[in-house]
């Protein structure tokens, strides 16, 4: 691949564009949570507030990118036989390290995420990217893929977190869990209008994700329908053109004959 790009500058440009697409695909088109339903456990458990969701997202980005790098680095040395177990070991190592770092430098986050930090090990997203992407691609695109997927995961968690926190407390606070040098709240209705405790709890988590999934589905359905309609219109047009051509041809033939 790399040799070919040297010969053809046009292709190189295309590949750069490809890297950008590689990054953005994880955010919307292949969003791990809303499209692939990967990592639903943390998506439900740690999204009671925006900050815990974002914190989880950052940890996942870190683990995902790091394991992608290592996996793509060693992809040629690992015998196929022990591929999966090696990946598990690598991921578990990074998760342990990330857990310790969080405990040391973001203690509030560590406490609020609780057992869901070690559970990053079994997050299907990370194992999935390692086997499906990093083990087949070079380091650079693996990093981009890891970052993109991680950001998509973070964005989804943040969306759910914002919804739940706003409905539950009527405010979006910052600086409580993440080790930020400042704290306060972005939105603060400072009234108990939205104070619906159910959104903090498990029931609210399920329902909010359900609603968001339905919204994304509705959008997907709408786009599909639109595409379908456009396709139909295009086919009609082509048919018309073909008929026109046929008519013209027939007329020409008739003219010749005449």
């Amino acid at each position: 691949m790399a040799e070919k790009t040297k010969k053809n500058p046009m292709k190189k440009k295309k590949q750069q564009l490809g890297q950008l697409a590689n990054f953005t695909k994880g955010i919307i088109r292949e969003n791990p949570i809303f499209v692939f339903l990967l990592g639903m456990c943390p998506a439900l458990a740690v999204t009671a507030t925006l900050e815990t969701g974002v914190g989880m997202g950052i940890l996942v980005i870190f683990v995902l990118t790091a394991s992608n790098i290592v996996v793509s680095l060693i992809k040629n040395f690992i015998p196929d036989e022990i591929r999966i177990p090696s990946y598990i070991v690598i991921i578990a190592t990074f998760v342990t390290i990330v857990g310790m770092l969080t405990q040391a430098y973001a203690y509030a986050l560590y406490q609020s995420l609780g057992i869901f930090i070690p559970l990053i090990v079994v997050n299907c997203l990370i194992m999935g990217r390692a086997t499906a992407y990093a083990s087949k691609n070079d380091v650079k695109s693996s990093i981009i893929d890891g970052l993109g997927m991680g950001v998509g995961f973070l964005a989804a968690l943040a969306l759910i977190g914002i919804t739940r926190e706003l409905f539950a407390t009527g405010a979006i606070a910052y600086g409580v869990y993440l080790p930020l040098p400042f704290e306060g709240s972005i939105i603060n209705t400072s009234m108990y209008l939205f104070n619906m405790n159910v959104f903090v709890g498990p029931a609210g988590g399920f329902i909010v994700i359900g609603i968001w999934l339905a919204i994304f589905n509705a959008r997907g359905n709408y786009l599909k329908k639109k595409k379908e309609v456009e396709r139909q219109a295009w086919i009609e047009e082509k048919k018309k053109e073909a008929a026109e051509r046929k008519r013209k041809k027939a007329m020409e033939k008739a003219g010749e004959a005449a």
């Binding site: 339903l37 639903m40 456990c41 943390p42 439900l44 458990a45 177990p85 598990i88 070991v89 578990a92 190592t93 998760v95 342990t96 857990g99 310790m100 609780g114 057992i115 070690p118 559970l119 090990v121 079994v122 997050n123 299907c124 194992m127 159910v198 709890g201 498990p202 029931a203 609210g204 988590g205 399920f206 329902i207 994700i209 359900g210 609603i211 999934l213 339905a214 919204i215 589905n217 509705a218 359905n221």
Partner: protein, 202 residues
């Protein structure tokens, strides 16, 4: 000796009050993925139950008899996931040798269990509870095992209930956007609301 009520409380609280799926958000993947048919839901539950109980015992022993005395509890995460993964491999191996029928029934769920966060989650929770402080090093093992068993029962209960609901949901008329997972999640949310009511039992 510990009084029997401790075990009773452990089972009830981990099965109903702190239900793994609805209250602790563990094992959502199989909850959504394998709950389409009651039969497969029960098969999955059975496999989970076995692995959960045995891995609870193993990890308890490893944590309190090896890692804690050596003062290296910080490697517990990697140790636990590898122990669970090895256990699953061993179970699969034995099932392969023992019976074809069993392998057909349960084998398909075994590889899925490694990445099932319910197992690792329950194991981590059991360790985080710190049973040895309350019941002593050895007795704590039994309490941990009991509560893992309760958690597995809770998982099975929810899998069964949810698969039954889903079978009915198939026949229901659901708007296009809500079909499949979204409506399942909302149903799960309502189930979780119902389970909130069990909060005061113990």
């Amino acid at each position: 000796m510990i009084s029997p009520t401790v075990f009773f409380v452990a089972i009830v609280s981990s099965m109903l009050i702190n239900n793994v799926v609805l209250m602790r958000f563990l094992g959502i993947c199989p909850f959504l993925g394998v709950s389409k048919r009651t039969e497969s839901a029960l098969g999955m539950s059975l496999a989970v139950m076995f692995v959960m109980v045995v891995s609870s015992i193993l990890t308890y022993i490893i944590y309190y008899y090896i890692l804690a005395p050596l003062d290296i509890t910080f490697i517990s995460t990697i140790a636990f996931i590898l122990v669970i993964a090895s256990l699953v491999q061993l179970v699969e191996l034995f099932i392969k040798k023992i019976s074809k029928k069993l392998y057909k029934g349960l084998g398909i769920y075994l590889p899925l269990i490694v990445t099932n966060c319910a197992i690792l989650g329950v194991v981590e929770i059991n360790i985080a509870q710190g049973y040895p402080e309350d019941y002593g090093l050895f007795n704590g093992l039994w309490v941990a095992t009991t509560s893992a068993f309760g958690a597995a029962l809770g998982f099975a209960l929810i899998m069964f209930a949810f698969s039954s609901i889903r079978e009915r949901l198939e026949a229901a008329e659901v708007p296009a956007a809500w079909q499949g997972v979204p409506v399942s999640l909302v149903v799960a949310g309502i189930m979780a609301l119902a389970f909130l009511g069990l909060g005061g039992i113990v």
